[in-house]
């Protein structure tokens, strides 16, 4: 035993620092990505022109880094100073002024630039890091072992049956040999032991499925209705990397994330009137989607005349089909989770950036909510609201506690969600 442990140790120790390095680099890229999505993504993409230029290689295009920082914080000032690169960009983009970000520090900008460099590099196949709870391998592994156990059980059951049969035949033979009269054999379907076993099994299996079925009543996991407009989250959130909160801004202010109003769509689609460059889109039934036609539908709703480039005033709101429904006796607040709890949208909604048509990813059951509340940690150290929990702070200081979960501050109590 001790031998094994020393091997583990000798393997682990050299590895640890490298793990740490990988981890910390990830954290910074993550920050950069978050910042990029928050501040830049509504006008810029890494490798294509949107409202503003593609940002790939931006550092190379600016001779002085200090001026680039200044430009990001306050572009108007740099243009005013007459710095040639700034004036050049300003004129190139029709004298459209870039939003000022005075709050960004050098470190923040470095993080963003770092992200631009990594994102501009050929992509690693690991996918998005934002999804915490889904590990695709786990499921298949579980499936494999279940199959293995099933086969094992079956083989053992067959062996047991054979042995039983052998046993009974042997007994019959010994009985015959000893002259004990054999009772008339009972057919298996009238054998009380079989019937009882069968009934119990049926009850258990039936009960299990009835219960499962009953529990699922009113839940609608994987619900994927057809929407009035074929709106692809893959195209918007995935390929073009528009921040979720750009459209669903309510998520950080309100209990509802809110489907964006048509005027928000038109912010971009006033300029983007065709779907040409992206991958082909398909409906669930396999038919191909004409992206440009779908944008035309949006113009219909918005009352926008693309030819004359003006509003006709005859718009009407889009009647989207609601996918995520909670019962009336549940209070759920998006801003609590997104703003205060700093949860990723994907935690509950799945890899939305990979969904063309959105489906319900989680079952939204109470067990699912409560599980997450048991495991998730609140922003205990960062949010001053939690300063009143003096005892927990003390415990953390004394190393009695390493983190505070939602449950610990009463997040699984009834009246946190039901009132």
């Amino acid at each position: 035993m001790s031998h094994h442990r020393s091997i583990v140790k000798s393997l682990l120790f050299p590895l640890l620092p490298s793990l740490f390095i990988v981890f910390s680099a990830q954290v910074r890229a993550q920050d950069g990505k978050q910042l990029f999505n928050q501040k830049c993504a509504s006008c810029h993409a890494v490798d294509k022109k949107l409202v503003g230029p593609a940002l790939k290689g931006v550092e190379d295009r600016w001779p002085e880094k200090a001026q680039l920082y200044e430009w990001i914080r306050n572009s108007a000032a740099v243009v005013k100073s007459g710095y040639p690169r700034a004036v050049e960009v300003y004129n190139e983009y029709n004298k459209l002024q870039m939003t000022a970000f005075p709050e960004l520090k050098d470190a923040d900008i470095d993080a963003i630039l770092g992200y631009i460099n990594t994102a501009g590099a050929p992509k690693a196949p690991t996918g998005d890091g934002g999804v915490a709870s889904v590990d695709p391998n786990a499921k298949t592994q579980q499936g494999d072992s279940a199959l293995l156990f099933g086969i094992l059980t079956l083989i053992l059951a067959v062996i047991a049956l054979i042995l039983l049969q052998v046993n009974s035949n042997l007994r019959k033979m010994t009985d015959q040999k000893e002259g004990i009269p054999t009772p008339e054999p009972v057919p298996f379907y009238r054998n009380k032991a079989y019937i009882a076993t069968g009934a119990i099994l049926l009850f258990m299996v039936g009960g299990y499925y009835t219960f499962q079925g009953a529990q699922r009543l009113g839940r609608s996991k994987d619900y994927q209705p057809e929407q009035p407009i074929y709106y692809s989250h893959t195209v918007h959130a995935g390929i073009n990397q528009i921040n979720c909160l750009y459209c669903h801004g309510g998520a950080q202010e309100s209990k509802h994330a809110n489907i964006p109003s048509v005027n928000v769509c038109m912010n971009c689609h006033m300029g983007i009137n065709e779907y040409a460059k992206g991958p082909k889109l398909y409906r669930e039934d396999g038919s191909e989607v004409d992206g440009t036609a779908e944008i035309q539908k949006l113009y219909q709703y918005a009352g926008w005349d693309p030819a004359a480039r003006k509003y006709t005033g005859k718009g009407k709101p889009i009647e989207w089909i609601r996918i995520h429904n909670l019962p009336d006796h549940v209070y759920f607040n998006h801003s609590q989770h997104v703003k205060a709890g700093k949860q990723q949208c994907q935690t509950c909604h799945g890899e939305i950036q990979k969904m063309d048509e959105v489906y319900q990813f989680s079952d939204l059951s109470m067990g699912w909510c409560v599980n997450c509340h048991r495991e998730s940690k609140v922003q205990f150290a960062d949010n001053k609201f939690y300063s009143i929990y003096e005892k927990f702070h003390e415990d953390i200081k004394n190393k009695k506690l390493d983190s505070v979960t939602v449950e610990k501050i009463g997040g699984t109590e009834c009246q946190k969600c039901h009132y």
């Binding site: 009113g218 609608s220 209705p225 801004g249 309510g250 202010e253 309100s254 209990k255 509802h256 809110n258 489907i259 964006p260 109003s261 048509v262 005027n263 928000v264 709703y301 918005a302 009352g303 718009g315 009407k316 709101p317 889009i318 009647e319 989207w320 089909i321 609601r322 429904n325 009336d328 006796h329 209070y331 607040n333 801003s335 609590q336 703003k339 205060a340 960062d382 949010n383 001053k384 609201f385 939690y386 300063s387 009143i388 929990y389 003096e390 005892k391 927990f392 501050i409 009463g410 109590e413 009834c414 009246q415 946190k416 039901h418 009132y419």
Partner: protein
């Protein structure tokens, strides 16, 4: 030795058998099984029928629910307005104006619907206080009985243009005769301008203001004495001695929200130096104000003038008062006079009489005691009562004589509330063009040829100047629900000005305020305040002598007299179709849904009505026939202590026509016809009434006998100021006995006095404190709670069965002495109000009896109720010592029933609350409860969660009142006009609730039924009376009360053992 007792009903006072029986069950009725001993097949609901129903309803439910999930749509804005985020409430300042009440408010608008009214804390008038009527006004917006379109000759007129044309032509045809605009008191400066412009275009026309409950007598007296036909500002907070001659200034007189706030300020007690104002009330019936008085004396209504004169004479006025018979009353007048004299001007006398002569004498008293300029401020006059009764009488006369061509009626309903409604109705027939702007087809509107309903105030633009220099604004918080138009827009249009009134108000105030910024700020704040400095007015005493002689020669009272009064909830009846107000228990009688003759026990005895064992346990009340002023009324009686022996009282606002609405119809009877007119002013009393008993009975739904404490004592605490001064620790010492008895080892009653573990509360721990000395019992909190928490209306038939749902009730206690012979002295009466809500006990008895754990405790000290877990055993309600849990006996909100399925089972008023329109008032953050579950006060948990989230999002600690910063106020706390309720985080040492409990008010602090160790989260501060009489229990009685003794104690002991 006399023996003080606190009691809620006579049965409790006398411990009658019927009362004892009624205590046995929390739920007073049997299960609706009709077992007749013949077996289940013979029963009226046999088993087979039951199975049939079961089968049918299961099948029906399956069919109705179907197996498909309904498809729900999510429809975002086309163009989202910047300020609106769906799911986040917006607040807009506006103003509630009705019947002389001008209350600046803030309307909470959620997703476009106003759902709650809060007081505007920027107003110096109210400081954020409200009244029950203000709180209930949001429901009036969604009233199903509102008139939804203009009408001409009984038919709908589809467009305003068509209506304008129709009325315009009719008015031109009738132009030979004068036009009269008949309104209630107009406090709006811009409306006054609009009316003046309109009248200027029509020579010979005039504006008549009519107040159904008028202060005409006061206006005329002030005109004679001070040369101003107006009412001054009163400053109750500056008065050390307050004498009220029948003025119910805390409930209904002039500006009760403002006065309550001032009054409470003068009665707030500083523990280090306990002082408070002295309040003496002279009245004929027991009013809310009388119930709060330190000393209270009763007289006949006919003696009002004599009492005022006697008081003036004692103070030193050169008048002789008619003799008064009652010795107690005479002593009271002596005492009041002495106190007033010694107050050095910090005194105030107010009088509710509408007789100018009496008001003249009151003015003389105020002059004599030096109140003018100190507690009476003539610089800022109250504009909310301007109606002169004689003008109205003259108008009715003119109408009958055919001297009025066009009558425009706005906001008044004389066909209902004028003393001679028939004469008004007859006169109206002779008016060629009659237009009503009222919001519904009320008694007057149905008689008018044209009707064009005005907006509800939440849909309106406007302004109000309640007092000189105190302007408040009205702005629409929702687009008009129906085809209604502002009254002023019509006037503008008909005088040739095509401006909308909204634009008119804007330009009117832009001119006055100078800039758009100033106007925007005024609108956002809701108020502009430039109150002038206090000022005395020049006084002229020439009218005293004639007033005195006129009083002396006044009519003498008959054998019995009658007072006509407005109820705190109902007022003059403008909100009669508001089920929240109809179901609000009257503060004094605790009756809902009716009016009745309030009489004294003596009068009941004289009538031969036995106030026996059953009287207050059973709901049916004897009906008497009252003959007064040539009219006859049959009304049930309610006998209460505190009434003058020969006086009965009758509330106005009831007895409405069917078209006023489903909640108002068939409720009570109209008392306005009994109002008299003496040629100058209306008399709200009848001096000679005859009455006789009938054999009929009538059910009155009153709540005072519901929710009893099963004999446990003492729930309420009261002391005299002198006693508290002498022994400040009288209550603290008594509470300390519990420590001595149960926590000898650790001195920690909380931890040691129980077998249960002492749970920690690591974050916030919620607590509430209610100051019984500030609480006037007005009931604003009850209605605020109803509005905030979707508390259902159950209707009269259900209140009769003790099924009312109020989460917050106000217990009313009478306190009287019992002498050695066992007789109760009902004259020497104190009344104490105690708001009672879920106490959120830390050792809650309800929690451990729930078989499904539907009620349990949170780590923040909340006693949580989870409706979806509840299976309706009601064990929790049985085990609650405070009786604050409410059971949904029916699907009152109609949320789970097929439409109209409960029609006939529930009252029409409940069905009205289930209308799609009315349901818009529901708070979307609070679950609508279904049938079969228990509910109760949640400490407004939705507000707690919202406040916490706000702090979290702003990355800062929660503010619960330290330094005047509040993230969270419960609905009751926000509504309270006297700030009696304080809520906050007890774990925060700087929060007001902690400070009150641990530093500021340790002597007066108590918990209801502390000895049963349920550890409530609601603390109370004892009521203090500034009187020489002994109040509260004697010291030795406190001890006796703490330990169960005698017959009452045994019942308590039994239940104790059951725990």
């Amino acid at each position: 030795m006399d023996h003080k007792k606190y009691w809620q009903s006579l049965g409790e006072l006398k411990q009658s058998d019927a009362y004892q029986d009624s205590l046995k069950d929390e739920f007073s009725e049997d299960l609706p099984f009709e077992a007749n001993g013949k077996g289940t097949l013979e029963a009226s609901t046999p088993r087979r029928d039951f199975l049939k129903y079961l089968g049918f309803s299961t099948a029906a439910a399956m069919a109705a629910a179907s197996c498909e999930m309904p498809v729900k749509k999510s429809i975002p804005y086309l163009n989202k307005p910047d300020a609106i985020i769906p799911g986040v409430a917006n607040y807009y300042a506006t103003t509630f104006v009705q019947d002389g009440n001008v209350v600046p408010v803030v309307a909470k608008v959620r997703d476009g619907r106003p759902i709650k009214i809060e007081g505007n804390e920027l107003s110096s008038l109210t400081g954020g206080g409200t009244s029950a009527q203000v709180q209930a006004s949001v429901l009036d917006l969604y009233d199903t009985a509102r008139l939804r379109y203009p009408m001409g000759n009984g038919k709908e007129v589809t467009t305003f243009d068509a209506f304008d044309k129709m009325v315009g032509e009719a008015m031109t045809a009738a132009a030979g005769l004068p036009t009269v605009i008949l309104t209630g008191t107009v406090t709006s400066p811009s409306t006054k301008q609009v009316i003046a412009d309109f009248l200027a275009k029509k020579p010979g026309s005039r504006h008549v203001q009519y107040d159904a409950l008028s202060a005409s007598g006061m206006l005329l007296a002030n005109e004679a004495c001070y040369g101003k036909r107006s009412i001054p500002s009163y400053h109750f907070e500056n008065a050390r001695v307050i004498v009220s001659l029948g003025a119910d200034f805390l409930g209904t007189w002039l500006s009760p929200v403002e006065f309550s706030r001032q009054y409470a300020a003068g009665r707030r007690i500083n523990q280090a130096n306990p002082e408070m104002s002295k309040h003496i009330q002279f009245e004929s019936m027991l009013s809310l104000t009388g119930a709060n008085a330190d000393d209270r004396f009763v007289h006949r209504p006919s003696e009002t003038g004599a009492v005022a004169l006697a008081l003036l004479a004692k103070i030193g006025g050169a008048v002789t008062a008619p003799a008064l018979a009652d010795d107690r009353l005479k002593k009271g007048i002596d005492m009041a006079a002495n106190m007033l004299k010694s107050a050095n001007g910090a005194a105030l006398v107010v009088c509710g009489s509408n007789d100018p002569h009496v008001q003249t004498i009151v003015n003389a008293i105020n002059e004599a005691v030096g109140a003018n300029g100190k507690t009476i401020n003539w610089a800022s006059t109250l504009n909310t009562y301007q109606g002169i009764d004689k003008d109205m009488a003259q108008l009715v006369q003119d109408m009958n004589e055919g001297k009025v061509g066009t009558l425009l009626i706005h906001g008044v309903n004389p066909a209902y509330d004028y003393y001679d409604a028939k004469k008004f109705a007859d006169g109206l027939k002779k008016v060629a063009v009659s237009v009503s702007f009222n919001d519904r087809e009320d008694e007057t509107t149905v008689l008018c040829k044209y009707a064009i309903p005005d907006h509800h105030y939440l849909e309106s633009w406007g302004d109000a100047e309640a007092k000189t220099g105190l302007i408040s604004f009205i702005q629409p918080v929702i687009a008009p629900l129906f085809k209604t138009r502002a009254f002023q827009t019509s006037l503008l249009k008909w005088s040739g000005n095509n401006t909308e009134y909204g634009d008119y108000v804007k330009s009117y105030w832009l001119n006055r305020l100078g800039s758009q910024e100033a106007f925007d700020k005024a609108l956002q704040d809701g108020v502009i305040e430039n109150a002038p400095l206090p000022l005395a007015a020049a006084y002229n005493n020439t009218t005293i002598a004639s007033a005195a002689s006129s009083i002396a020669s006044g009519k003498k009272g008959g054998k019995a007299e009658l007072v006509i009064y407005p109820k705190v909830s109902m007022g003059s009846g403008k909100q009669a179709n508001n089920p929240w107000l109809q179901e609000m228990p009257d503060p004094i009688t605790k009756a809902t849904w009716d009016n009745y003759a309030v009489i004294s026990y003596a009068m009941a005895q004289e009538l031969g009505i036995k106030i026996d064992d059953n009287y207050e346990v059973e709901v049916f009340k004897p009906v008497i026939k009252i003959k007064a002023a040539g009219k006859e009324l049959s009304l049930p009686i309610l006998a209460i202590p505190g009434m003058q022996a020969n006086t009965m009282a009758l509330a106005v606002g009831y007895g409405r026509s069917e078209k006023v609405g489903r909640a108002a119809a068939n409720v009570g009877q109209n008392a306005f016809p009994l109002v008299g007119f003496n040629g100058t002013t209306f008399d709200y009393h009848v001096l000679d009434v005859s009455y006789e008993k009938t054999n009929e009975t009538f059910d009155i739904a009153y709540t005072q006998s519901h929710n009893q404490y099963e004999g446990r004592k003492e729930v309420v605490r009261e002391y005299a100021l002198s006693e508290i001064k002498k022994t400040p620790k009288i209550l603290a010492d008594e509470r300390h006995k519990l420590v001595e008895d149960y926590a000898k080892n650790t001195n920690d009653y909380r931890a040691e006095g129980t077998l249960y573990p002492n749970y920690p509360y690591p974050g916030a721990k919620w607590g509430m404190n209610i100051d019984l000395n500030s609480c006037t019992g007005c009931g604003a909190c009850t209605i605020a709670c109803t509005a905030e928490n979707n508390v259902s209306v159950v209707g009269k038939s259900e209140v009769l069965r003790a099924h009312e749902m109020h989460w917050l009730r106000i217990d009313r206690y009478f306190a009287t002495y019992r002498d050695d012979s066992g007789g109760d002295n009902l004259d020497d009466l104190n009344v104490v109000f105690m708001p009672m809500l879920c106490q959120h006990c830390d050792n809650a008895p309800c929690e451990n009896v729930c078989p499904v754990n539907a009620t349990n405790h949170s780590s923040e000290g909340l006693n949580q109720m989870t409706y979806n877990r509840c299976i309706g055993t009601r064990y929790c309600a049985n085990n609650c010592p405070y009786k604050v849990r409410r059971f949904n006996w029916a699907d009152y909100t109609g949320s789970d029933s097929f439409q109209d399925n409960q029609r006939g089972l529930l009252d029409d008023s409940v069905m009205m609350m289930n209308d799609d329109l009315t349901r818009m008032v529901l708070n979307p953050d609070v679950t609508v409860r279904s049938r079969g579950v228990i509910e109760k006060c949640s400490f407004c948990v939705q507000r707690l969660q919202e406040g916490k989230l706000k702090a979290k999002k702003e990355n800062r600690p929660l503010e619960t009142g330290a330094g005047g910063k509040w993230d969270i106020k419960t609905a009751c706390q926000q509504a309270c006009p006297t700030n009696a309720i304080v809520f906050g985080n007890v774990n925060d040492k700087n929060s007001p609730v902690s400070k009150i409990r641990n530093e500021e008010q340790t002597n007066r602090l108590f918990y209801a039924l502390e000895q049963i160790h349920v550890l409530p989260s609601v603390s109370y501060l004892a009521k203090i009376r500034n009187t020489d009489r002994h109040v509260g229990l004697k010291h030795e009685e406190h001890q006796a009360a703490a330990e169960p003794a005698g017959a009452e104690g045994k019942a308590a002991e039994k239940t104790e053992a059951a725990h």
